[in-house]
Structures are given as structure tokens and as C-alpha cells.
Amino acid sequence: MAIKLHGQPWSNNTVRAMTVLNEKGLDYVLCPVDLRSGGHKKPEFLALNPFGQIPVFQDGDGSVFESRAITRYVATRYKETGTDLLSASSAALETWLQVEGSQFNPPMFRIIFELGIKPLIGMSTNMSVVENESDKIGKVLDVYEAHLAKNKYLAGDEFTLADLNHMPEIYILSKSAKFDLIDSRPHLKAWWEDISARPAWKKTAVSLPF
């Protein structure tokens, strides 16, 4: 059975899954879920993800929801294919995977949802949310900046899943007026330039509507 990814290319969480599939050089079919008509709340979709959210990943072995569980599954199942995305110490990898999910993503998602995603789905941007969340995320990004001054990648010397999981949101931010959040921090900027120059990422980026 071919790999199927149920989602939308304007959804940062779907893009996270697309990114790992391209890093691994895996073919997949993107099956659009029509959120406007409530496709994500239909019984067939809820059977795949009871939370009614995209993306959902399916291959011959099983079905996975939650984008970070999907990227972890693909990185592990296909460890010997393409780049090994788990090549770091357990402590550093687990720490920075969690930092992305609990420190970086909540404020960053709110910013890029307002600036990057809402315009694509016919909703209007709330600039006060953007300003509020930009203030909050500054402190988090300062920690990243100090960490990347001493580490080439988040979990050490190699590009890993910990770096990859950040890519959709930073890319969407890079298309917005708030990219100075990254651009003004030299080590963050250098890290982003490095990881976004990866051929697999370029392949992902050209397929996106941002």
C-alpha cells in the first residue's frame, strides 16, 4: 500500500509530515481533507483521528495521527533510508523535540496562523494576537540563540528530527512581516539558512502555497 498523508498543504502540521517524507525520499499521496465542508468531522475521518484533525499518515503497517508522532514513526521505521534523523544522544534529542512542541510551537503557531494561514483560508488576521505572541516568543528565541551559538544543530553536530520539526512554522514566518524574530538573531538565522538549504526541504517548499 502506498503511503497516504491526509491533510492540506497550507497546514503547518501537514507540512511537518511532508518534510520528513521528503527527507527520507519516500513517495506518498497527499489526500486532501476538505475542512470547509467538515470532512475532518465525518465518521470515516474520525475513525483515523478521533480528534478530527489533520494530518493522518497511513502506510501498509498502520495509521498514525499527531504530526510529531508521524515524524518520529517515519524517522524510526525508515532509519536506514536517506538521512538518519535520530543521530544524537537520547538526552539532547528528546529534550529538543519536547522544547519544540511545548515552548516554541504554541506562540509561534499563533503568529503564523494569523499571518500565514488565515489569509489562505479566507479569514482575517488579528494583529493584536501577533504582537502579543511575538513578545512572548522573544524570550524563547533568546534561549535558542544562546544554544545555537554553542551547537551547530539543536541536538548536537548533526541535523536531526529536532531541527526538522521546526521547519514548517519558520518557513511560514519567513514569508511574513515578522521574520525579523529569526533574522535578527545571528545564530538562529544561520541555522535556518543551513537547514532550509537542504535539497529535500527545497522540494517541500516549492509545493507549498505560502
Partner: protein, 185 residues
């Protein structure tokens, strides 16, 4: 933390975000509670409960199910439950006024999440499958406070109630609660 120790230079070396917990062993430092849990499970695969991260006969898919439900906990359960814990437990403790709108909004969000859990726990003994795993365990800290303040949220849902009683009766959890209740020395 009342004295700002979590923002002291020494602590920031362990945890640069200035938050608790931080874990240290002879090899390294780990922060972020779920990372600490996974690190400990990876470091001691032969000790105590050996199915906390799935694996075993279920292999990768069983581990992935744990990852999946642990992500659901972090992304869907934690935001409304933490907001409620803050309003129901910490705000009164510090002598501030509760925000009824925040309580109502977050109870509604949490109710939606618990409805999904109730369905899942009708088909599966624990969130990730047949075994108690990190995915269930991660719910204990906020769950404990929420149930003490408003047990209806969990106990009015048959399967969530059954699951909660089972996971909160585990001796390892009871040991944690005892430590929380012990006088601070």
C-alpha cells in the same frame, strides 16, 4: 521558586528556560518532563515497568501509539487542563480572583477532549493500548488536581472514570502524592 531560584544563573545552566523540572545523572542533564521520562525509560530498559514506552511484542507501532497519545496529551489535554489548574488551584492559593470566563471556556475545551478519551477508553484499556504507558501517566499530575477540585469532569464519563481510578491507584503514583503531601523540610 518563590525566591526566584529558577532564574538564578546556576539553575539556568541546567534549564535555560528557567523552568522546573531539570534532571541530572552521572552522564548528562535533561529538561522537559516528557523528555526526562523517555530518557529514564531508555536508560533503564530492564528495570521496573518495562512497557511504559510500548515496544515489546507490539514493536514500533506500539511505541508509535504511545508517542501519538503523549502528543495528544501535550497538544490537546494540557492547554485547557493547565489553565483550569491555574484558576482552580493556584489563583486562590496566591489570593487572587478567579476568572469565571476562563474557567468556563477551558472546561468546555477540556470536555471535548475528554469526550474523545471516553470513546477511546471504551475500545482500549489504556490510551495507547492494553498496557499502562507514559501516555496515561502524563495525565496524573493535572488530573489529580482537577479531580480534587471538580471530580465530575472525569468521573461523569464512564470510561474516563474507570481509567482514572485505575491509573491513580497505582502504587508509584500514590508514592508521589504522599511526597507532595509531606511537610516541606
Amino acid at each position: 521558586m518563590a525566591k526566584g531560584q529558577h532564574k538564578s544563573p546556576d539553575f539556568l545552566k541546567l534549564q535555560p528556560f528557567g523552568q522546573v523540572p531539570a534532571f541530572q545523572d552521572e552522564l548528562t542533564t535533561v529538561f522537559e518532563s516528557r523528555a526526562i521520562c523517555k530518557y529514564i525509560c531508555n536508560k533503564f530498559p530492564e528495570k521496573g515497568n518495562q512497557t511504559l514506552m510500548g515496544g515489546g511484542d507490539g514493536g514500533l507501532l506500539s511505541r508509535t501509539s504511545v508517542d501519538q497519545w503523549l502528543e495528544a496529551e501535550g497538544q490537546s489535554f494540557i492547554p485547557p487542563s493547565s489553565a483550569l489548574v491555574f484558576q482552580l488551584a493556584f489563583v486562590p492559593m496566591f489570593g487572587f480572583k478567579q476568572d469565571p470566563a476562563a474557567i468556563e471556556q477551558n472546561e468546555a475545551k477540556l470536555a471535548n477532549v475528554l469526550d474523545v478519551y471516553d470513546c477511546r477508553l471504551g475500545e482500549s484499556k489504556f490510551l495507547a493500548g492494553d498496557d499502562f504507558t507514559l501516555a496515561d501517566m502524563a495525565h496524573l499530575p493535572n488530573g489529580h488536581i482537577l479531580v480534587s477540585k471538580n471530580e465530575d469532569l472525569f468521573m461523569s464519563r464512564k470510561n474516563v472514570g474507570r481509567w482514572w481510578e485505575e491509573i491513580s491507584a497505582r502504587p508509584a503514583w500514590k508514592k508521589v502524592v504522599e511526597m507532595q503531601n509531606a511537610p516541606q523540610g
